[in-house]
Symmetry: C2
Subunit: 189 residues, 2 copies
Amino acid sequence: MSKMRKPIPSDAKMVFKGKIFEVWQWEQKMFDGSSVTFERLRRPDTVQVIATETESMILLVKERQPDTEAYLTLPGGRADAGEDPLEACKRELLEETGYTSDKWELFYEDDPVGKMEWTIYTYIARNCVKVQEPHLDGGEEIELEPVSFDRLLSLTDDETLHVGSLKELLLRARYNTEDRDELKRRLFG
Amino acid sequence: MSKMRKPIPSDAKMVFKGKIFEVWQWEQKMFDGSSVTFERLRRPDTVQVIATETESMILLVKERQPDTEAYLTLPGGRADAGEDPLEACKRELLEETGYTSDKWELFYEDDPVGKMEWTIYTYIARNCVKVQEPHLDGGEEIELEPVSFDRLLSLTDDETLHVGSLKELLLRARYNTEDRDELKRRLFG
């Protein structure tokens, strides 16, 4: 939300391509006329879904990966190559939770790291319905943690809640009536 | 503040070393017994300084780099190789603002990106005194922007304020009397 986008310039060269990250470099003209090699990263975009059923149910997940402690987060993950953000949301929500929605809305986009081309798309999925059991891959352990709107706001004190810049909106909603009403309106229509 | 540290495992191999970023890979055992190549980055740590003179003066800087729009931030930057965070703070504060302090305190450490070994150290420098003019390098344009404590809190609505996870503390202080008193006590002693 607060970060500006800094795209990699068109004359930059990719100097490394890994499993997730690409490294790009270019010659940047400085204010004093000198020139310096600048470096920036590119990685696949990620998505997170605020999946709601009723006003009293927002779907969080408790997730553990092979090299991390458990943490509380929104359903979501990395977009596959060529996959658009909304499709990635639908796939991740179904895989991780077994829920679908027919009422999707882009909430906001965020580029959290200055030296990286990486956008996190946050979507709202209303009227969610469970249609199957989750299908997890070998690198995920996930439990569903449905919470109320008020509980979600109070979870801003929980250090294991990882929701990126959504935390700022939750804090504002927690402390400010106008912000709370606005967020409720966005999430539940 | 809210992120856990995920160090690169000791059996990982560095597969690329750029100007700023290193890319590391290792074989990660998954929950189902399979093995996948995991990737993580390492970059130099950075520092930011909350430099105060009196209760009514906190030193922000308006900064522009050759490839960015101007933004409002704390004095700070990248630690040089082998330089400890406090030394980096003292050097950056002097270079960017011309101020020094004899009363330093580590406020908190933050690892903002899950897939990157990168710590941001936030230090408090009290009783700051101007001793010289700033010495900027060719890649910086900086103007000093001293603000009051209350003004800093209201700047949480300014999208050009880039202070990392300090923003969360500022929002809490803005809306919550106890948090405000605690932050004032930390910043001004």
